[in-house]
Symmetry: C2
Subunit: 216 residues, 2 copies
């Protein structure tokens, strides 16, 4: 059965950002924030924020604004960050190592349980106490450890095959850093981090920014 209300991806992309700002407010000991203050902070209009949050029931109170901790917790729950996720990383090159280290410091519910490689020189190495294992063992490992997320840090040529194997072994989500779009069964979510696409967008905006300047 399909859900009746489909929330747009643009809304979902803004939630982690709202959450980051709320976290900063929490750290500063701020308990509540008006919708216009929150708008100034995030750069989104108050009506945009209200609309986004209304998708999930809305959390502000007229004349009071938002409870910082309340909204932070609600958004965390919406995103599913009140749960734990077990991850494996495929590819122990620079990027795989960086992701292993990076997520290690999140201290949130994303736990890297194993890193897999085909390069024998890297197998056996440890990254933050996590062993780099032979890629041949991945299906067995994912199955027996109930891994939720596969992180693909391979070359683009290997990415789809790795994705297929991870899906077969039972992951529910793929976080793909390879510069290629991968296909998965509909029950497996995919989030792409296309690093070079981002750099190319930057190049575009730099040239447009310069055009503005030149015309001044």
């Amino acid at each position: 059965m399909k859900r009746q209300t489909k929330i747009s991806n643009a809304v979902i992309k803004r939630l982690p950002r709202y959450r980051r700002y709320l976290r900063e407010l929490q750290k500063k000991g701020i308990d509540k924030i008006s919708s216009s203050e929150f708008s100034d902070l995030t750069g989104y209009t108050a009506s945009q924020i209200r609309q986004d949050l209304n998708n999930f029931g809305g959390f502000g109170q007229q004349g009071y604004g938002y409870s910082v901790s309340g909204l932070y917790n609600e958004i965390s729950a919406i995103l599913g960050l009140d749960k734990q996720y077990k991850m494996v990383i495929v590819g122990a090159g620079n990027l795989g190592q960086a992701i292993a280290n990076h997520t290690y410091y999140y201290k949130t519910g994303f736990i890297v349980c194993g890193i897999f490689e085909i390069n024998p020189r890297l197998i056996g190495m440890k990254i933050n106490d996590i062993e780099v294992m032979d890629y041949d063992r991945i299906v067995e490992f994912v199955e027996s450890n109930d891994i939720d997320i596969g992180v693909i840090c391979t070359t683009k040529d290997a990415a789809q095959e790795v994705a297929d194997k991870l899906c077969f072994a039972g992951v529910r989500g793929l976080w793909n850093f390879a510069p290629v779009d991968i296909e998965t069964p509909t029950h497996v979510a995919v989030e792409n981090m296309h690093i070079s696409d981002s750099l190319h967008s930057l190049a575009y905006h730099m040239n447009r920014t310069r055009e503005h300047e030149d015309k001044k």
Copy 2:
């Protein structure tokens, strides 16, 4: 003077993706592609693609489709990938090293000229023959080497200060990997790679995907 036509960021985000597919077609020796084939390949509707490309004049021919190399070159030029960009990376930790290595293998017009650090243990190290230098020298280096892009691979607490310094020194673009939104003068373009935001979106989609399954 402002440009009359503002092309939406969503369109700009799709161009690198179109370009990637065109590059794959080129590698396979394919010269031309119909708009419906290109639609099947990319997952966007033919009308979406046509609309996107029409922003830049449109490149297809009725009854012929697209010339693969022609469109690849046009999109490259629109993105500004026919030029060279000199970059510095700030932060030589895991992420900075990964980006230095990653961009090294692009073999495109993005050249990492220097990496900067405050940690004395990392200063003097070499990554792909690029020296890790003392962060104190960054303004002088950016000025005297006409650096175009600053890549921010620091902690979130340091990111804004580093951004300010890079902008002062004269970069035209910032590629920000720190998990914080940074502010820049209007003439400096910013592209964010918020790695944890992406992971949080994935968590959301995984839970929604499971809800579908559970309701079946």
